[in-house]
């Protein structure tokens, strides 16, 4: 029985990894279509990101003269780290083989590793844009990462674990109920997700205006298959954050170990629906707000950090009293 469960967990893990990989460009495409429609444009077709990726894969890499091996290795590392992080988040089932390998803290650290190498790659060629992007990305991360960890603390205090599968199990069992702290944590996590995915109002994924961009400036020198990997990684990251928010705050539908194929199917369908509604909300939000100045980021993310800290303190004080 244990062997069967382990085997199933392994299969689900592989399915999960392929699923997020397959859905990621679609999600980005959906957000783009919705945004275009909201702005009164027709927009690119839903499959455009898939086409972009395959086109990039077929193109030659144009490498700057003084790019080092680190520059060439980074896309693979970034892609792997984010893919692995996405594999850890329960999407349609909590019966995943990698569950015990890493918890939420390790997930944050995996994302931090991807960012570390990407920021280094931004500085490798030695242009001012790359450095600019790296420097701003790290500045954003220094506030977003602690905010996210504090959100995790709030959840961990409530649920008594940082393991994602156990959190989902607990939330599904309904032992938490509505809490002010959870609300604060959700707002904070949404703010972090916006900043980390380079979305408006922190960054504009569509811009190539040099002085306003962060993420795009950092990867400016990439081309061909390297760029394809990095684009795929950032699409995966969007799925990851949506799946993370969904599995912590809206876990309904996720199937648990030992449940039948019907539950798995429900899990799959609800996951896709959750992603789609996430895309709608994101598109609505992005068309509704304007981009901030670079030096307002500190206030925005400082706010996120403060909210998450407040949430954690409420919980620290309320538990056990």
């Amino acid at each position: 029985m244990i062997f069967v469960q382990a085997l199933l967990a392994g299969i689900f893990q592989v399915v999960q990894m392929l699923l997020v990989l397959a859905l990621a460009p679609g999600l980005t495409g959906l957000v783009r279509v919705l945004k275009a429609r909201l702005l009164g444009r027709r927009g690119p077709p839903l499959v455009q990101p898939y086409r972009d990726l395959s086109r990039l894969l077929r193109k030659d890499v144009v490498l700057a003269e003084n790019a080092s091996w680190l520059f060439r290795v980074t896309p693979y590392l970034v892609f792997t780290a984010i893919w692995l992080a996405a594999a850890l988040v329960p999407t349609f089932t909590t019966a995943l083989a990698l569950t015990a390998t890493a918890d939420l803290i390790a997930l944050v650290a995996l994302l931090a590793s991807a960012r570390f190498f990407l920021a280094l790659a931004g500085m490798d060629v030695g242009t001012s844009f790359g450095g600019l992007g790296s420097s701003r990305e790290m500045m954003i991360a220094t506030l977003a990462e602690p905010a996210m960890l504090m959100v995790i603390f709030s959840i961990a205090i409530l649920v008594r674990t940082t393991s994602l599968s156990l959190i989902v199990d607990f939330m599904l069992a309904g032992g938490v109920g509505l809490r002010v702290s959870l609300g604060l944590a959700l707002i904070s996590l949404l703010m972090v997700a916006i900043a980390e995915n380079a979305r408006i109002p922190v960054d504009n994924p569509a811009t190539h205006l040099e002085l306003t961009m962060v993420h795009e400036a950092m990867v400016l020198e990439y081309s061909g298959r390297h760029l394809a990997l990095i684009e795929a990684a950032s699409m995966l990251k969007l799925v990851l954050y949506m799946a993370l928010i969904a599995c912590i705050f809206l876990p309904w539908g996720i199937s648990e170990p030992g449940e039948g194929p019907l539950d798995l199917a429900i899990g799959l369908v609800t996951f896709v629906l959750k992603l789609a509604s996430g895309a709608v909300l994101l598109a609505l939000f992005e068309t509704g707000v304007a981009k901030m100045r670079v030096f307002r980021y500190g206030e925005f993310l400082g706010g996120a950090l403060l909210l998450s800290l407040l949430g954690a303190i409420f919980l620290y004080v309320s538990t056990g009293l």
Binding site: I105, A106, A109, V125, A156, V317
Partner: protein, 669 residues
């Protein structure tokens, strides 16, 4: 015990060989080679001991020292962990110094004191009475002071050495008073006697605070850190690695030995004080590091940060221990001690790397480096491991300690005091902030120094250093990976020390999960596996590479950089160290450092260049040390008058002093 004592004796002997340099032609090779062997032997002895049971205690009483006391030495699990760190880094720095110290202008100023310094540190760790402890502590301080003074012709070095000497003396004085209080209660200077007669709450608290001041000034706790960024860069690089990587840890050892072993039952607020100080130190240290342009100063400030992280761990352990939750105390303690070992490893890589860069380029200023990944590929690779490890990236060793520390913080709600509940949340936030800032700091360090284009002729013509130096950088880099992937190897060695200090091992309450899984029983079902993560990353990367190279275009064309179509020929157009730090400075440093940027922009038509000046100050100097120095000066001026009294005035002074003392005695009776 006997083998460690022999090693220490051999070190002292090598110090004498170093002094006899003028008669001995090959003293340089003898000292460095000898030290590598002796430290290696000592590290190996301790390693074997720790790999075995590690719980037995060995005692040795040497017939030297004070006539009624003798020198008591003792080797237990706690000493062994720190002995391993000291001698491992000592061995590596001896190997590195073999090549590096050849470039020393005046080898006579380094050679004798290098072995003595390591011997002093070893002796502190095996001391079993306050007298040996303090003597060894002073020995360590003075020999490192002489090493800081190695290039004494530079004004800056002399100032660094002066500040260091003052701070070291202050620290020793505090420790002396602390041991006085402890020994006064016990009626003897031996640690055994102190352990047997723990003092009451008030004297114990006074002693704890004094130890915190004494050891804290040596470890570099904010605001007593000011000597550290001056002294560490002044010494030669392999000495910097020792001072930064392990001497600060000897201070941590002193803190653990007194607070967890000697004073008896700890009070919870000591732990709270420690944790708060640690959190402030961690954030302040890394913010300072982020603003530095000098490579070695940056690394020294980063040591301040890491000491902060370790002290947070100690504080948490103390709080949990006093609250009667030994399993959690063990978790926090393991995190702290693992970080002691880890920091010794990655700080050696980085300081040796800085030394290698200094040898190859002659530059220490970040803004004059760049592009070294092409010129010094091996150094660059190892330093990348060091930078990633110190930024706590999985699956390297830094992350393991951080993970355990976060797990300990998460248990804050179990405590009773509401101050602690809120405090733990804030400390968790500061810890997370310092970790994120550390990553930014080391992206800046590595990106500016090793990546991009060379910013000076020195960097453009750099050559890779020789194999001896490289091997000293490679070994800790490999160890960083090994400890990160199989953390249980290191944690198993810390377990006996844990039982000694907190009364319980980390895995005593069950929750083993084999060699691959890190699943402390106290971490409520959370687990982490560096090995699994490493393997998964490896498999996925191989898969990604295979798929891409199978189905995608494989061709690579080299071309000039795109840079949005703007090709600038001068490497000065790149982002520099200060421009990288600018957004962070704007967000964090305005208030804390009083950072002021002024831009002098010429009017249209003027031909003079625009000028940008940045002013930053260390608030510890302004708020704490300058007033203290002024007060001491004022007092000295007042007391100066006492030298010019008449005999009559002197006699009446003595008379009044006598009366005062008699009154005091009468009152106290």
């Amino acid at each position: 015990m006997a083998s460690i004592s022999l090693c220490i004796a051999a070190m002292l002997l090598l110090g004498i060989v170093g002094m006899a340099r003028s008669w001995l032609g090959r003293a340089h090779e003898v000292v460095h080679g000898g030290m590598a062997l002796v430290c290696g032997a000592a590290a190996l002895t301790v390693l074997v001991r720790l790999a075995g049971d590690g719980t037995d205690v060995e005692i040795l009483a040497l017939p030297v020292g004070l006539p009624w006391l003798r020198a008591n030495l003792r080797l237990d699990a706690l000493s062994a962990v720190f002995l391993l760190a000291v001698n491992l880094v000592g061995c590596l720095s001896a190997v590195f110094g073999w090549s590096y110290a050849r470039h020393e202008a005046e080898p006579g100023r380094v050679l004798p004191f290098f072995p003595l310094f390591i011997a002093g540190m070893n002796l502190v760790l095996v001391a079993d009475d306050a007298f040996v402890f303090l003597m060894a502590w002073e020995f360590m301080s003075l020999s490192s002071w002489l090493l800081v003074l190695a290039s004494h012709r530079e004004e800056e070095t002399r100032r660094a050495a002066y500040v260091y000497l003052v701070m070291a003396s202050f620290g020793t004085a505090c420790l002396l008073l602390a041991f006085g209080i402890l020994a006064g209660q016990a009626g003897g200077y031996g640690f055994e006697a102190i352990r047997a007669h723990p003092p009451g709450a008030v004297p114990a608290s006074v002693a704890a605070l004094l130890v915190l001041l004494g050891a804290g000034s040596k470890a570099g706790l904010v605001p007593l850190h000011v000597w550290l960024p001056l002294a560490h860069p002044a010494a030669p690089s392999h000495i910097s690695a020792l001072m930064s990587g392990v001497m600060t840890k000897v201070a941590i050892y002193g803190l653990i030995r007194v607070l967890f072993d000697l004073v008896g039952e700890p009070l919870w607020w000591w732990g709270a004080v420690l944790a708060v100080l640690g959190a402030v130190t961690a954030v302040a240290g890394v913010l300072y590091a982020l603003m530095q342009d000098d490579v070695k100063k940056l690394l020294a400030y980063s040591t301040v940060e890491n000491i902060g992280v370790i002290v947070i761990g100690l504080g948490l352990a103390l709080v949990f221990k006093s609250s009667g939750v030994p399993a959690l105390a063990a978790l926090a303690m393991t995190a702290a001690m693992l970080h002691v070992l880890n920091h010794g490893l990655f700080k050696s890589i980085l300081f040796f790397g800085a030394g290698a860069v200094l040898t190859a380029t002659g530059e220490r200023d970040l803004d004059r480096l760049g592009g070294l990944i092409h010129r010094m590929p091996a150094t660059a690779l190892f330093c990348l491991v060091g930078a990633a490890a110190i930024s706590a990236l999985p699956p390297l060793n830094g992350f393991v300690a951080e993970w355990m520390l976060f797990q300990a913080v998460l248990n804050g709600p179990l405590l009773e005091q509401w101050e602690l509940k809120i405090g733990f949340a804030v400390i968790g936030a500061l810890l997370a902030l310092s970790a994120a800032l550390a990553a930014a700091c080391f992206v800046r360090f590595y990106g500016i120094a090793f990546l991009g284009r060379a910013r000076s002729p020195g960097a453009a013509q750099a050559r890779e250093v020789d194999a001896v130096m490289l091997s000293a950088i490679a070994v800790p880099a490999v160890l960083c990976v090994v400890v990160g992937v199989l953390p249980k190897l290191a944690i198993a060695m810390i377990e006996p020390a844990n039982r000694l200090t907190t009364g319980e091992g980390m895995f005593d309450a069950g929750g083993h999960g084999g060699w691959v899984w890190l699943a402390p029983a106290s971490a409520f079902g959370n687990s982490y596996s560096g090995f699994m993560m490493f393997m998964t990353i490896l498999i996925l990367t191989i898969l990604a590479v295979f798929m891409i190279h199978r189905y995608a275009s494989n061709r690579v064309r080299r071309s000039i950089p795109w840079a949005c179509g703007f090709t600038d020929p001068a490497p000065l157009g790149q982002y520099s160290a200060s421009s990288f730090a600018q957004p962070l400075r704007r967000v964090f440093a305005g208030q804390i450092f009083g950072a002021r940027e002024t831009v002098d922009m010429p009017a249209p038509g003027e031909t003079r260049p625009a000028r940008f000046t940045l002013e930053m100050r260390d608030p510890a100097w302004d708020r704490l040390f300058t007033p203290v120095v002024r007060l001491v000066g004022w007092l000295a001026d007042r007391i100066d008058g006492l030298q010019f009294l008449t005999i009559r005035q002197y006699l009446s002074l003595m008379f009044f002093a006598l009366v005062l003392l008699l009154v005091m005695v009468a009152v106290s009776q």
